[in-house]
Symmetry: C3
Subunit: 311 residues, 3 copies
C-alpha cells in the first residue's frame, strides 16, 4: 500500500487511489483491533498532540489511536503553550517538537497554520483543523463511515443538511466525494448555501448535484449528513427563527424516508438532531466515533510508512 504523502494537510491532496488506500487500511485496522493485534505496531513511537485550540473529541480520538497502536503521546492544550505566549513563532515551536516526537497532530485557530507547521519539520504533520480551513481527517472518517455502513461509496445519493456555507467538515468531504460516482443533494437555507467555489468545482468534475431548501429531499437519499445551523450565522435573526425547526431531524421525520437513510453527524449535536433518532439502526453518528479511531490509526501508520498487516 503506497502512501505518497508525508503530511496530511487538506482534502485536495488525496487522489482516488489515496482514498482507497485509507479505506482499505482502515478496514485492516478494524480487523487487527478485533483480533487484539493492533497493539504494538507503533511501539516506541511518540505522537505530539498539539491542540492550540481545544477540541476534546478530536484530540482524544488521535491519542486513543496512538495508544491502541502501542505508541506514546505527549500532549499540550491551549494556553499551556507557554513559549508561544512568550512570543515564540509556530516555526520555532515545531523545530522543538521535531526533536521530541516522531509524528505530530496539530489543531490551530489560524487558517493555513498546519501548512506552516509542516514546512518547519521533517516529521509527518497531520492537520486536525485550522480555523475556517480544512479538517481532512474528519472528512476521511466521514468517508469511511459511509463506506462501512453502505459497503461502498459508488452510486450513493448523499444529502448534506444545514450550514453548507461555513461547515468545514462538509467542504472537505465534498472535495473527496468528487472522486466517486455519487449524487449530492445540498439542502440548506439560501443564506447558508454551499459557496460558489465549491459548486464550480463540482460542475468542473462532473459531479451530479442538486440544491434545495426542502428538507424532505432527504427521503430519497442513501446517506444524510446533518450539521448544525447556528443563529449567529444569520444576518436576519427572524430568518433563523423561521428556519430552525424545519431543519430539525427527528424520528417521525425519518420514518417518511423512502430508503434506509443512514444518518451521519460530525458531533457535537445540539437541537438539530433529536435524541429519538439514536436507537434507529440507521443512526450511524455514534459508530462514527469508533470508525474515527480506526481511520486515525491507519493514518498514523501510513504517514509513518508502516505497513498495515492484512489478516
Amino acid at each position: 500500500m503506497d502512501f505518497p504523502h508525508l503530511h496530511i494537510l487538506d482534502a485536495d491532496q488525496f487522489s482516488r487511489v489515496d482514498l482507497e488506500n485509507v479505506l482499505t487500511g482502515t478496514a485492516r485496522i478494524e480487523k487487527l483491533l478485533g483480533a487484539n493485534k493492533a497493539f504494538g505496531l507503533l511501539d516506541g513511537k511518540i505522537l505530539a498532540s498539539l491542540f492550540f485550540e481545544s477540541s476534546t473529541r478530536t484530540r482524544l480520538s488521535f491519542e486513543t489511536a496512538m495508544n491502541r497502536l502501542g505508541g506514546r503521546v505527549i500532549t499540550t492544550v491551549g494556553f499551556q503553550f507557554s513559549s508561544i505566549s512568550k512570543g515564540e513563532t509556530l516555526y520555532d515551536t515545531m523545530k522543538m517538537i521535531e526533536a521530541y516526537a516522531d509524528i505530530a497532530v496539530i489543531r490551530h485557530p489560524v487558517e493555513g497554520s498546519s501548512r506552516i507547521a509542516a514546512g518547519a519539520v521533517s516529521i509527518p504533520v497531520i492537520n486536525a483543523g485550522d480555523g475556517i480551513g480544512q479538517h481532512p481527517t474528519q472528512a476521511l472518517l466521514d468517508l469511511y463511515t459511509i463506506f462501512k455502513e453502505k459497503n461502498a461509496v459508488e452510486g450513493l445519493r448523499i444529502g448534506f443538511v444545514g450550514d453548507l456555507k461555513y461547515g468545514r467538515t462538509i467542504h472537505s468531504l465534498i472535495k473527496m466525494l468528487r472522486h466517486y460516482n455519487v449524487e449530492i443533494v445540498l439542502i440548506s437555507p439560501v443564506d447558508l448555501a454551499l459557496p460558489e467555489s465549491y459548486r464550480k468545482e463540482l460542475r468542473r468534475e462532473n459531479v451530479k448535484f442538486e440544491e434545495t431548501e426542502d428538507i424532505k429531499a432527504l427521503w430519497d437519499c442513501d446517506v444524510a449528513y446533518i450539521t448544525r445551523i447556528q443563529e449567529e450565522r444569520f444576518a436576519d435573526r427572524a430568518e433563523f427563527e423561521r428556519l430552525k425547526d424545519s431543519y430539525t431531524i427527528n424520528r417521525a421525520f425519518l420514518l417518511g424516508s423512502r430508503k434506509p437513510t443512514t444518518i451521519l453527524h460530525p458531533l457535537p449535536r445540539v437541537a438539530e438532531l433529536s435524541t429519538d433518532v439514536d436507537d434507529m439502526p440507521t443512526a450511524a453518528y455514534f459508530r462514527q466515533a469508533a470508525y474515527g479511531v480506526a481511520v486515525r490509526m491507519a493514518l498514523l501508520m501510513l504517514c509513518l510508512k508502516q505497513e498495515i498487516p492484512a489478516i
Copy 2:
C-alpha cells in the same frame, strides 16, 4: 473472585462479599506490586480519565493505577471539554468515550451525573465523586486502610471527627461499615452532626454508634477519621471561632489516647490535623495514598472482569 457489578457508582451497591473481594483483591495487588508483577496485566487497555471538575489527587491516583497495570490513559480536565461547552450532553460525550476507551472514571460537579454517564455506555464507569453525592472509591480506600493498618475491620471502635454533615467521604464509608461489626463514634459540633437519614440507617442495621461534641472521645477509638471543619458551613461564625481550636488534632492531644489510635484523613488537610502528628507510627494518612493506588488497581481489574493473580 466474582464481582457482579459493571460500574462503581455508590457505596450502597457493595455487599459484604463485594467488600471482602475488594479487600482481598487489593491485598493481592499489593503483593504483585511488591514482586514487580502487576505491570502488563492490563496491556493494551485504555482508561478515559474524565475530570469535569479538577481533583488532582484522585485523578493522578487512577492514572497511576492504570499505568502500574500496563494500561494506557487518555485524560481531559475541566474546561478542556470543548464539546460540553458547545452544548453537548453528558450522554453524547459518553457515547464518544465508549468508542475510545475500555473503562472510564468520571468526576463531575453535579450529583447523579455518574449514573447518567454509566447509563449511556456499555463500558465500566467508575464514579470519582459527583457533587455532594458519592465518592465510593475513596470509601473503599479508607476501608482498606483500616483493614491493612489494623489487620481486620471487625470489632474496631472507629471515631469520625469534624464535618459529619457534609463530609461525602464519611457518608460513603459509614454506609460500608454497616456490613461490619464495629462501633462508631460520631464527634462533631451539633451544627455539623451526621444527617438523620444516616443515623436512621445505622439504627436499622443495628450498628452501635454514639454521638458527642467531645473530641476526647477519640482516646477510646482504634481508628480516628479526621475531616476539616469549614467556616463557611456555619450559620453563626462566632460558633465556628468557638469550636475550631477544639477540633484541631495534634501530637500532644493524641498522646492522651488510651489506645494506639490510627489516624486517617482523606486529605488535603489544612489546620485540623497538625504536622507534628506526621511522624507518629499511627499516622496512616500518607500511607492511605499508596493504598489508594492499589485499591484502584483492584477496582480496574474487577470492573474489567480480569482475574487478579494470587502469588
Copy 3:
C-alpha cells in the same frame, strides 16, 4: 558509572566527575536511541511531571525522555493542582506523589521550592526551574551541546551575550563551567552585567573571564550563548532602546567571526536572534532540543540508579 546524588536540585551539586558521567551517559543514550535500544530501559516506572508553573518546552522534554525509555508519565499543570488551591502545602502534595511515582520533576514559581519538595520524599526529585533560582538540567543540556558540537569542553572560549544579570540558565551553566579549563567572555550592557557573587566565584576558582559591552567580542569565541534582553529589566527605557539593536545577532554579523562560532540559545527566542542564522551549520540551538531529551533520559537513569548500557 557512579552517580552519588538522589536529587538534582542545583548546579553546585555537580562535581567534575558528575559532569563527566552525565556527558558520557548522554552519549550512550544517543547511541541507544540511534540503535532503537533505549525503549524499555525504564519499563513500568512512573515519572510525575509536576508543573506548578507552565513550561511547555521543559515539560515535553522530560515527558518525551521518560516515554523514550519506556516509562510512563503522570502530569499535572498549573491550576490543575486543586489540592494546592484548597490550601495544601507542597510537603503534603509531595507525600502523595511519593506514593504514586518512582521519580518526580518539578517546576515551581518559588525559589527553593524544589529543595522543599525533595526534602519531603524518598524518591528522586529533579528541579526543572524554581523561580529566579536554579534550572540545572538546562545547564546540563547546554553543557552537552557544547561538548557534542565541539567534541570537548576544555580549552574553549565561550561568550555569553545578553541579560547576564537575571539569566537563570547562564548562572547555572557558568557554575558548571568553572570545573573546566575554559575562557569566559561576558558581553552585556552594564545594567545587565553578571552579578558580583558569580564573578567572585569565578575569580576564586581561577576561571579566566573578561567583561565587555562590545558584541564584536563574540568574533573570537568558539561558542556564543545568546539570551534575550527584556525591556522590563531596564530602569531607564531609553537605555533599552539604545542597546537592543546592537544585541541582535544575525547572519551578517556572524559572518564577521574569526572562528566557527557555535550558536546556542535556551529558547524561546524573539528578536535577539535572527531567523537568517537558522540554516548556518554553526546554529546549534535547534539541535539543543534533541540533546535535551537525551540528557534528561540520562538523568532519569542516573537518578533511578539504572546502569546506562554502553553499546
